[in-house]
Amino acid sequence: MSRGLGDSRPATTGRHGIPAVPARAAMLALVLVAASVLLLLAGLAAGSDGLSFAWADEWTLLREIRAPRSIGAWLAGALLGFAGAVAQGLFRNPLADPYLLGSAAGAGLGVVLVLAAGTTAGASIGLASAGALLQLGLVGAAFLGALVGVALTLLLARGAARPMSLLLCGVVVGVLLTALSDLVMLVSPDAMRGKQIFLLGTTGFLGWNSTLVLGGVLLLVLPLALQVSRALDALVLGEASAASLGVPLPQVRLLLVTTMALATGAAVAQAGMIAFVGLVAPHLVRRCVTVAHGPLLALSALAGGVLLLAGDIAARTLVAPQELPVGVLTAVLGGIYLLVLLRRRQA
């Protein structure tokens, strides 16, 4: 420490203008955008026969299936990456993931209820044979279920003021809603297969409607969360220090939990349980750059989009003409990545 505050000499080492770290973040953003564009092109080319660029011959296929599926996969990944970054900042835990607050279990229960109702009415229950109306009902039920799961967690925790209480209540709600799902499946065993297919994590059912929903939710939640991202920065100092800086923590937390629930709910409802993207995307960004939470949220969304779209293309082409559920692929790759990360930290 060279001098006290009383010294009025001007600072000579201050940084004004564009600092070095955000420049690296901008570079990463450019790389991720470029990767997204390239992957979208690859997504348009990826079919059951491998990669095909004879797009004029396959125009209908491209327009009706591959384009919405690829864009939808990118958007679902972006929502999960964003929600993961919010969860990790909000709970000050780098292992927090977007499904913590009961959204996944809520979505599962919603799906099971609709499937069971379909069975009772004598309707077809398998997704492959489900009509458009029933499919819309499943997606809607999953979205509603995810939101109800988070709302229950908030209710039990009496708001979002105490993060530990919120986490514990999230676990309790998850267990309760999963148990309810199991109970419904006992009564209506056919619902089990439908639920498994729906929540396995697949981008195969994404159409233009899904893409519109996912895009709309991303356009809503990302700007909202960016507005209060400095509260996440302040939380790095701890709860009390953030409060001492005048940050209205209960209100900010409620807003962030809501954006997280909307993002996760939309992603689960449209693409099922995609594992690890929400957990890994913010990690990858933090490995590349040192940034505040504002850029981190946006970069995590970009990274999530790239990850899931890449996973989707791999799922479509690895065992073509068969297709892997992308959720299984991301779970395997994400698990390996986390194990490597853990080993490196231990070393």
Binding site: G4, G6, T13, L237, L245, G246, R286, T290, V291
Partner: protein, 263 residues
């Protein structure tokens, strides 16, 4: 003839109970501009709770706190944050934020959540980084720093607020002797700028460099006095169960008081 200036922050008859136990009982303390107050006492004496009450982070169930004549609990959070900067005990802060961004958080009360940093904010951050010797690692992550470096960054964050009242909870934790001395220089710099400083300190010799010392025990203020006050020395010895005595040292730097362990 003018009377003494009104205190910038004043607690009157403050009491706090936590978990059925009274951790603060009828505590009154006034902090004046340009005065450094050290708060000492054994573990569990209520020092940190008192600092939290003074910072408006813990609501007392008895008494009140006034900031510049205004009730602290009635002030909007941002206004309170502009008037009072608070340094927590080390341990909670962690993460991947860059040092400069951490220090920049000290400008949040001025900018608000939605504001962007301006030239004044950049200058305040630069000054705070330089005052704490943290400029050299401004681009590094908080999580990569040593305990001492981290403490200097957190102190810089407090200085960046440029508040008229600064409350420090164990600011010298994890610091080696040169950096402890530098913290004292920082505090003296603040005092010269007419800032009211209150610091909880475990190092009694550092505390005896303050303008006045508050001795606490079991949630109560036992004594308030200048470092040379014999009654204060007796109170310190009493609350620390006669484990220390206060000795006078005259050196080229002038008269000083030091705490010495008793045999």
């Amino acid at each position: 003839m003018t009377g003494p200036a009104a205190p910038l922050l004043e607690a009157s008859g403050v009491g706090v109970a936590l978990g059925g136990r009274r951790v603060l009982d009828d505590v009154s303390l006034a902090l004046h501009a340009g005065q450094w107050t050290a708060i000492v006492g054994p573990n569990g004496a209520g020092k940190s709770t008192l600092l939290s009450v003074l910072a408006g982070l813990c609501k007392p169930d008895r008494g009140q706190v006034l900031a510049g004549g205004d009730r602290l609990d009635a002030l909007p959070a941002r206004e309170r944050a502009r008037r009072i900067a608070w340094l927590a005990q080390q341990g909670e802060a962690d993460g991947d934020l860059a040092v400069r961004d951490i220090v920049g958080l000290g400008r949040l009360p001025h900018q608000g959540l939605f504001g962007a940093p301006g030239a004044d904010d950049h200058r305040a951050v630069d000054l705070a980084l330089e005052a704490t010797g943290a400029t050299a690692f401004a681009a590094r992550r908080l999580g990569e720093l040593s305990g001492g470096e981290r403490q200097r960054v957190l102190l810089a964050r407090v200085l960046a607020v440029q508040a008229p009242v600064v409350l420090l909870d164990e600011p010298t934790t994890h610091l080696d002797a040169p950096h402890q001395r530098a913290v004292l220089c920082c505090i003296n710099g603040l005092v010269r700028q007419q800032v009211a400083v209150a610091a909880v300190l475990h190092d009694l010799t550092l505390a005896l460099a303050a303008d006045r010392v508050v001795v606490m025990d079991r949630g109560r203020v036992c004594a308030i006095g200048t470092p040379g006050d014999p009654a204060l020395h007796a109170a310190i010895a009493a609350v620390f169960e006669q484990a220390v005595s206060i000795e006078r040292i005259e050196s080229s730097g002038g008269l000083r008081w030091v705490a010495v362990p008793t045999p």
